[in-house]
Amino acid sequence: MREINQSRQNVIRIVIGLAFSILIIRLFFLQIASSQYDVLALDNAVSKKVVFADRGIIFDRNGKSILENTLTYDLMVSPNQLSGLDTASICKILQIEKEEFHKRVIGCIIKNGRYRPSVFEGALSDEIFVQLQENMYRFEPGFFIQERPVRSYPYKVAAHLLGYVGEVDSTILKRTNYFYQIGDYMGLSGLERFYESTLMGKRGVRYQIKDNKNRIVGSYENGKFDSVAIAGKNLRTSLDIDLQMLAERLLKNKLGAIVAIEPKTGGILAMASGPTYDPNLLTGNLRKLNFSWMLRDTARPLFNRAIKGQYPPGSTIKPLGALIALDEGIITPNFGLNCSGAYYGCKRAIACEHKNPGHASNLRMALANSCNSYFSHIYRLAVDNPKEQTTVNGYLRWKKYMNSFGLGVDLGVDLPSEDNGLIPDTSFYNKLYRNHWSSCTNVFLGIGQGEMQATPLQMANVMCIVANKGYYYTPHFVSSIDNATEDEKSLDQYKIRHEVTKIPDTAYNVVQLGMQDVVDRGTAYAARIEGIALAGKTGTAENYGIIYGKREKLANHSWFVCFAPRENPKIAIAVVVENAGFGSTWAGPIASLLVQKYLNDTLPSAKWSEVERIEQKEIILPIVKAKRKKLDSLRQLNIQKQKLINQSISLIDIPRKKENRPQLIFLTHCVAIKTEHEEQFI
């Protein structure tokens, strides 16, 4: 019996020992062998809050701030702390109905839950903000006011080049390797994007402990891992905001682009793209809505035509043709052509605007009168240059000239997604014409037509080269960064002088004089300015568009490129107005006004009426106009629809306790109204 007892107490000891071993083994796997629980615990309890630094301010060349920060104020609500609140008086201040009040609170609970604060009313108006501020003690802690920095554009211009910031989306999150977090803002276009790392400054990170209801209860490890936010750095640009404003005014009601550059530095003075928009539309709460409407606009207001618009440059290319011919020694400045209104060197005659004999009796005359025959001829002479033996080699040599002038290559302006333009490669023609092509095949390149395409920025840069007699600086906006350190985006590349192939100054002198003749007695007489030696070149570019699947010839683009003063160039401009006809009709006068404004710092009153005349003239293709109108009415309808929805919601008695029910009602109404209107349009 005693033996049995002995064995039984041992059995019990073993059972207990086994049970404890199981517990300890399990604890070992839980606490030591697996690390996932650390991560889960941190996820549970520590929130990483990115503290945004104030973004840097952007100044123009005269020290005026053109992109700065302001604060807006949001009224926030914590739904769990609303009991005993004076609902009536807060409704009175906000000018809303009690039903609306309850509807919003329910909406907040659905979105963010009961414990986390949500935006009750965003971007408070000054009037409401003041009233709320005075009475806030009555509404706390259920309500509180939170400030939020937003970007503001005091001059309401330069939307395309300044760009905008927006909330990061999932693709950006992935691309930046989760440097940003959901809810963060970053520069999405323009300078805001290009100089994002400089402007955003150094964001701070604050680690906070939260409890099971997601409420912040304190700092994590006494802020050991926190970092302080450092404000973004300010950018000094070469932009002249007054010139920019005038440029945008002149492009009103038109499609096109203007680029003005200071030839001596490459600093961009103005860059406008029409149609444009008030950049303030893309800040604050309505950003997404406004953006979506602009995205659907057929005139494409979001598209920066100055760096992305690719146009055939037309006759504005002719000064370059002349320079090439002079440099190659094919012609002398005295070379003349007897043009009788067309060029008959190839199978198809190329028409010229001028018929009077002697209008191309030398280079200067040919430039002044923009003789198509003359420049077609010297193009062919250049390509068929006996020195090069074959047409292909001749063309390649010509293309090399063009590329060194900055055409067909991207210049490297400090804006994202600049386009190249196009100077076709020989392979293009080889493929298209099965290796059988001659200088006649692409003779249109000599007069800036055919397959050639250039952006307004490239053409302005070409003017800088002509003005500087053979060199340019990469066009850019930012001239300096305040308190720059080594890890900043380098601006050195904009200080490099790019020498174009060694064309002698004599060649430039002739071309410059010819271009002055264009203004003084040639095609751009309308652009002449009293007392300023303006050298320019008009362009009237033929172009085609695809309308309802059919390729159609559209009204000519109006081009004008110029620089002034000729002896000591201070400004080089390229202007293109889409489908506006002759270069001298619209582009010329626009450029002339800008030059005058920039050089004299002011315009005589007679010229202001000219500005007004140009501003009011609408030049938009009928088809684009019709589509825009349709979109506008759709937008109006959408506003009405929203009103209808709001009305129908206030009519429905919202059951207070079941929180998900009003959402359902809301959705069904939405659908009903949507289908009704959609039908009207289909």
Partner: protein, 445 residues
Amino acid sequence: MKNNSFEISKGVDWTLMLVYLLLVIAGIASIFATTYRSEDIFRGFITLKTDYSRQSFYFLISLIIGVFILLTDSKFFTATANIMYSLGIIMLLLVFPFHTEIKGTESIIRFSYFQVQPAELCKIFVCLALAKYLSSPELNFSEVKSQLIASAIVLVPAALSILQSETGLALVYFAFFLVMYREGLPSALLTIAVSIALLVILTLLINQNVLAIILTALALISILLVRNALKRNKGLLFLIIFIWAAAVGIQRFAVPFLFNNILKPYQVQRIYGTVGKDFQFDPASLSEEELKKVEEKKKAGNYNVKQSKIAIGSGGFSGKGLLKGTQTRYDFVPEQRTDFIFCTIGEGFGFLGSVVLLSLYLFLLLRIIKIAERQRSVFSRAYAYGVGSVIFFHVFINIGMTIGIVPVIGIPLPFMSYGGTALLTFTVLLFILIKLDADRQMILR
């Protein structure tokens, strides 16, 4: 009997006392770690408004009662064991008309300021009564009749607890079978019980049909192995067939019947939750309300265990330190003062702290067995084993539950969990043992 103070301390097992004090203080420290909110600590301890101060107060009361127990003549416990058991049963019965409605339990009677949970206190009386019955001189425990009576002593309060929706407390009473085993319950019974338990767990883990095939294969293999013996003994064949039939019967019919018809749906869900599965209820057999309740309980149960595992798992090797545990400090683990108090140790002191605590419990249990075996009276020995079994069950189920190897059963961790009744119950259990041990030279019946 020269003087009282000498009398009290004479023969007291100070090692046991020391372990007891350590555990209670560790408990108070853990409650402090989870509920301390930067108030003045001194004020916090004297105002009785904080949980740790209340637990300290209960500790004080428990100690006073403990001293009274040490002053009591040990014959008192043997003499009154049966009366106290009857009183306990009466108290349990009184719960039915007089219980107070408190979150899901029907086992609490409230007098103006304090409340009692008879099902908890009854453990003491069952322990005493069982010891008394097992130590009666005319008892022959190898008789089935006496085995049944002993079982009845244990199972009556268990059944009453189940009727009061305290399944967890009821399960604890099964711990007393360990005492009966020590006192001569046939080990075959224990083997059968363990086998059935194993079969039930396998039923949870393995597909019904696959398990049936495995069992059949096992039966055929054993027949093949003993085929020579079978020629001599036909009974062996019947035995194997009987065991096979019983096993298949249990896994095919008894377990589904148990889950579908006897256990509450949420309990089934909890059991399945522990092995990481969902139990597919027959939607026709459950009302919408019951299904909803299952979902709620499932969510809550899974959430508790998940959070508790996160808290313990994030403790790592040496833990985050007292008051540094982010999970236990900020209410991520529900019920962390009471049933999930182990999380605080696990998170704050890591694997090291957990092993130290478990070693403390293991030491306590082995010490109790040692004490049990040195008793001269059967009563004292049986009682000691009773105390050990109850503590062992509580510790294993409670800690197992927090680390996800036992279904969520709401029973406290002895000496540590917040709660006056639980602390008092375990203190009284232990102190009676200490008193009996102190008087072990006396002959008790």
